[in-house]
């Protein structure tokens, strides 16, 4: 019996490449036959992340922090616990640390080694977040990468790159845009984007 695959080897017995779709189907069949996965349970997990858990959760957290100073203090002190107050918890949400963007400091999040991401508040990461180019470049030249993504920052703004890991999942508390003083929490929620909570965009009115 072989053990782990050679990383770039996805070949069948005749040396032909097996598509990941076929490999996945084969693995699901084997696991199902052995009673280790239940396709119906899988369906439920998949549907949850396709439709229910997404950046709207994080947007609610941000909007509450903008309108409730005590909540904001709790959020910055104990991210996971404060997020749970709003009912958002689950896998990859165990160690969320929230950092605040200000006039002088801009936080941007990456996972240099893989794709760690706070699922309960942002859902699953977008393609660019997982891409080798983003993961390598945002560490080396954050200001340039951010500008390319449409997030211009003044030279006086310090950029802090936050590297997510199994120990810490970062969430950015973006700056509340000017001119929204009379907005309700619901109106503010609608302004907050996923990209702003990763730190690659500003929130705009």
């Amino acid at each position: 019996m072989s053990t782990a695959l050679n990383p770039d080897e996805h070949l069948d017995g005749s040396g032909n490449r097996i598509s990941p779709a076929l490999r996945t189907e084969a693995l699901e069949q084997l696991l199902t036959e052995r009673g280790l996965v239940d396709p119906a349970v899988m369906d439920k997990f998949i549907a949850t992340y396709e439709t229910a858990v997404g950046p709207l959760n994080g947007a609610k957290v941000v909007a509450k922090a903008w309108t409730d100073p005590e909540y904001k203090a709790r959020l910055l002190a104990e991210g996971t616990a404060a997020i749970k107050e709003l009912g958002f918890a689950g896998p990859q949400g165990e160690h969320i640390v929230v950092v605040e963007n200000t006039d002088t400091v801009h936080n941007v999040v990456v996972c240099t080694l893989c794709s760690c991401y706070p699922w309960p508040v942002l859902g699953l990461p977008p393609a660019w977040y997982k891409d080798p180019a983003y993961r390598a470049r945002v560490v080396r030249e954050p200001r340039k990468v951010l500008a390319e993504m449409g997030c211009e920052l003044g030279d006086d703004v310090e950029i802090i790159v936050r590297d997510s890991s199994a120990e810490v999942r970062w969430l950015v508390l973006p700056q509340r845009p000017a001119g929204t003083e009379d907005y309700t929490e619901e109106q503010l929620t609608a302004l907050v984007t996923r990209d702003a909570m990763v730190g690659v965009a500003h929130v705009t009115k």
Partner: protein, 133 residues
């Protein structure tokens, strides 16, 4: 270990529209969602710690970044699937040979073959029991 209840509770949010203005799909192809769902449900069932899977994923991604066939595009979920296979092979749950063999059988299906049956006629060999330790 089980985080299912809180996940299910969040379904209450399903009717409100998340700010996904860019309309990006979470999964580009159906198999990606199956590979994702398998890892999450196996972990949820206690088959492995997430840190174990994550270490395997980091190793796969690093290996791909160090060396990959010229012209091959990066596919995150291909690395994810590889990591899952590594974890399952590592503890003897499912061996790579078995996956390859089953995949070959699936590839040999005639077009239009209904693969949703569960009667086991097609694959009654060699996968039953006694794997493991």
């Amino acid at each position: 270990m089980s985080a299912t209840p809180s996940l299910i509770d969040l379904d209450a949010d399903a009717q409100s529209a998340p700010p996904r203005a860019n309309g990006e799909l979470v999964f580009a192809e159906p198999w990606e969602s199956r590979a994702f769902g398998m890892a999450v449900s196996l972990h949820d069932a206690g088959l492995f710690a997430w840190s174990q899977f994550q270490a395997a994923l980091i190793a796969r991604i690093a290996a791909w970044e160090n060396h990959h066939p010229e012209g091959e595009c990066y596919s995150y979920y291909t690395q994810w699937l590889g990591a899952l296979e590594d974890v399952l092979a590592g503890d003897g749950t499912v061996f790579t040979d078995e996956i390859v063999q089953r995949a070959e059988e699936l590839a040999a299906r005639p077009a239009g073959y209904d693969h949703r049956h569960d009667d086991g006629d097609e694959h009654g060999h060699g996968h039953g029991h006694g794997h493991g330790h």
